[in-house]
């Protein structure tokens, strides 16, 4: 029998206080990430919920250095910081950009693409809560089909797909790209350790991070919803080495309705909409399987 070791609660690199909402998935993501990355880590955080969660001057919720930066700049600012550390002869510290989906899929996309095309020696983490949460739940290009947000309200719910960011990053042929979920902490921390040790090039981890406030789910459902995303294959957990070698870590076979029905943001969807979503998920899954088999 294999025993999964319990998650270490010691050596936490977050202070007990922060200003995230109750049940914030992005806070849980940070906690796990830092446990795996360790204290020789510097964070670069653009505008996003985490720019607030980390605390206002003169306080900080984190025990490691943090460079807050403008919304569109995580990739570039992290490149510059990496260059400075290289000049200082510090090769141990891992520069980690920590951005939301808006700062990654949308406004920060250009600087991220530029940085990973240069194969900058850093880890870029996107914690994905599938909308601009900090500004009040507006849609991003990470918002999935069918979602109501404050800019896709009522009958105008989002009728286009979510951008597949991991595929886009893999297409840059970076050494490492992976998805991770706060509902699978061992898998997630293993990936962060892998990324930490893979120095010399760009590593990208796409972390699924439930937002109870924006998704209209109870705050005690954060992990359950995150797990359902994996179990329905809406967010399968996998890794891509060098943009071509795919490994599947976690998936499932539950219907998407199990996931959709748990969240207020999808409440308006009818049976036909749910079937359409199931078809999209199936299609994406087959595409992924082709890569994993090949």
């Amino acid at each position: 029998m294999t025993v999964t070791p319990p998650i270490r609660q010691t050596g936490d690199l977050m202070y007990p206080g922060h200003v995230g909402c109750p049940g914030c998935g992005a806070v849980i993501a940070m906690k796990f990430a830092l446990q795996a990355l360790g204290e020789k880590t510097m964070l670069v955080i653009p505008a996003c919920c985490w720019a607030i969660i980390a605390g206002p001057h003169p306080q900080t919720a984190l025990k490691i250095p943090v460079l807050h930066t403008a919304f569109a700049t995580a990739g570039a600012a992290a490149s510059g910081l990496r260059a400075a550390l290289d000049r200082r002869g510090d090769v141990e510290t891992v520069v980690t950009a920590w951005a939301g989906d808006g700062g990654t899929f949308d406004i920060g996309f250009q600087s991220l693409s530029g940085a990973v095309e240069r194969n900058e020696d850093f880890l870029y983490v996107c914690y994905d809560n599938e909308a601009y949460m900090n500004t009040g739940v507006q849609r991003s290009s990470a918002t999935p089909f069918g979602t109501r947000t404050t800019t896709t309200p009522g009958k105008g719910w989002k009728a286009t797909r979510k951008k597949n960011i991991v595929e886009v990053l893999a297409a840059h042929r970076i050494p490492y790209a992976a998805t991770a979920s706060i509902a699978y902490p061992d898998d997630m921390m293993r990936k962060f350790r892998t990324a930490r040790n893979l120095k010399g090039g760009s590593r990208f981890i796409h972390v699924y991070a439930t937002c109870p406030t924006g998704w209209r789910v109870p705050s005690d459902m954060t992990i359950a919803v995150a797990r359902l995303a994996v179990q329905t294959n809406i967010f399968p957990l996998y890794e891509v080495a060098d943009g071509v070698r795919y490994t599947l870590n976690e998936s499932g076979d539950r219907p998407v309705t199990d996931y959709l029905e748990a969240q207020g943001r999808f409440k308006h969807l009818g049976e036909a909409d749910c079937s359409a979503i199931q078809a999209m998920v199936d299609e994406d899954w087959h595409l992924l399987m082709r890569k994993i088999d090949g």
Partner: protein, 386 residues
């Protein structure tokens, strides 16, 4: 050692001798020669630095912000649309108190596309918290770039060295290139007052609520208030070694001048000729070459211009719905002073149009002939409508 250098290469030479460690830039005419030379230096090892080839100017400034936060000496260069694209991060760099140095080549903004000389790009950034220094010739380009690092690091504020497109960036002049040993004496390696460090963790540029924001802004202003003294000290140290000094502004033949022309950049070089010619005809005319625009040298402006009968300001820039920007600032500086001579504002030389000896003589003549200035800036050298 005397060398014939292109203005752009006077910048790159200074940056190399300043032992900058991280350069990040994105190409735009007429800044390209600066960054091409720096790329070459980094590639051939004559400069021990990392050149980050980013995908935009926005990222160029973000990258040097990241690098400067890591505690190393940084440099970037841009022009016109590139500077406009950086705007958000110009604010960021100064409020983060990072001693970044940037060469900015004055170029017009489109549409229509125009790659030539115009000052509106840099002057439109006047409220971003950057020290701005306008230079006249190749030697001043090199000297000011070197000084900019020491000044920036003394006050923890970013510095923009501003040079005219083509008239300066692409013009070859003899330049005295200092010895590296002397430069090292003038500019020791950077000892950052604050930097990101895992052994002493801190958060930089984090959220600043109403209870702290105002004091932070006030601190930046206090930094600016220290600039005149710091600049004088930098110039003194520079003069001790290199025997050259420029001042925040230079008064030429102003002592008994009835009319003073205020000029910037390469127009000041033309102005020197004009002053000689007019003086030889007995005209009581002087010239102020304005070098420092931020912080604005109010004290010096009042003491020199206050004594004049009339002031004529050349603006190679324009603020729509207002007037030339240097003229606005000079009027504002004089207003609460003891003496306030009338300030005549002239717009000339936009988008690369030449400002010749004739242009400046015309401006002088128009100023002499009129008792009081027009409400609006007067546009000089416009082509007749066809």
């Amino acid at each position: 050692m005397k060398a014939v250098l292109e203005g752009s290469h006077a910048v790159s030479e200074a940056v190399r001798m300043a032992r900058v460690e991280v350069v990040s830039a994105y190409p735009i005419t007429p800044q390209t020669h600066i960054v091409e030379a720096l790329s070459e230096y980094c590639a051939d090892g004559s400069m021990d630095a990392r050149f980050i080839c980013v995908e935009s100017e926005h990222s160029a400034m973000a990258a040097v912000i990241g690098a400067a936060s890591g505690g190393v000496r940084t440099f970037t260069a841009t022009s016109s649309h590139g500077l406009a694209l950086m705007h958000e991060l110009l604010h960021w760099a100064s409020a983060a108190r990072l001693p970044i140095v940037m060469a900015e080549v004055n170029r017009a903004l489109g549409p229509g596309w125009n790659i030539w000389m115009d000052q509106t790009d840099s002057l439109a950034q006047r409220d971003t918290g950057w020290i701005q220094l306008y230079v006249e010739d190749g030697q001043e380009v090199l000297d000011t770039t070197l000084q900019a690092f020491r000044l920036a690091e003394a006050v923890n504020l970013p510095v923009m060295v501003v040079l005219d497109a083509f008239f300066l960036s692409h013009t070859y002049e003899p330049v005295d290139v200092p010895d590296q040993a002397d430069v090292d004496r003038f500019l020791p390696s950077l000892e950052p007052r604050i930097k990101l460090d895992c052994d002493d963790p801190c958060a930089m540029s984090q959220m600043a609520p109403p209870g702290v924001y105002m004091e932070m802004r006030r601190d930046i202003q206090k930094g600016f208030e220290r600039v005149p003294e710091a600049f004088a000290a930098v110039e003194g140290a520079f003069a001790d070694i290199f025997n050259r000094r420029y001042g925040v502004m230079e008064a030429v033949a102003c002592d008994d001048a009835e009319t003073i022309l205020v000029l910037t950049g390469t127009a000041a070089g033309t102005g020197r000729q004009v002053i000689d010619r007019l003086r030889s005809r007995g005209e009581k005319v002087g010239m102020v070459k304005l070098k420092m625009f931020r912080p604005f040298p109010v004290r010096e402006i009042r003491s020199v211009l206050g004594a004049a009968g009339k002031v004529a300001v050349l603006d190679r820039n324009f603020s729509f719905g207002a007037s030339g920007i240097f003229a606005q600032e000079i009027r504002a500086a004089l207003y609460n002073g003891k003496a306030h001579p009338p300030v005549f504002g002239y717009i000339a030389g936009l988008g690369g149009r030449d400002v010749t000896v004739d242009t400046l003589e015309t401006i002088y003549r128009m100023t002499c002939e009129q008792a009081v200035p027009e409400a609006e800036s007067v546009w000089v050298g416009l082509n007749p409508p066809n």
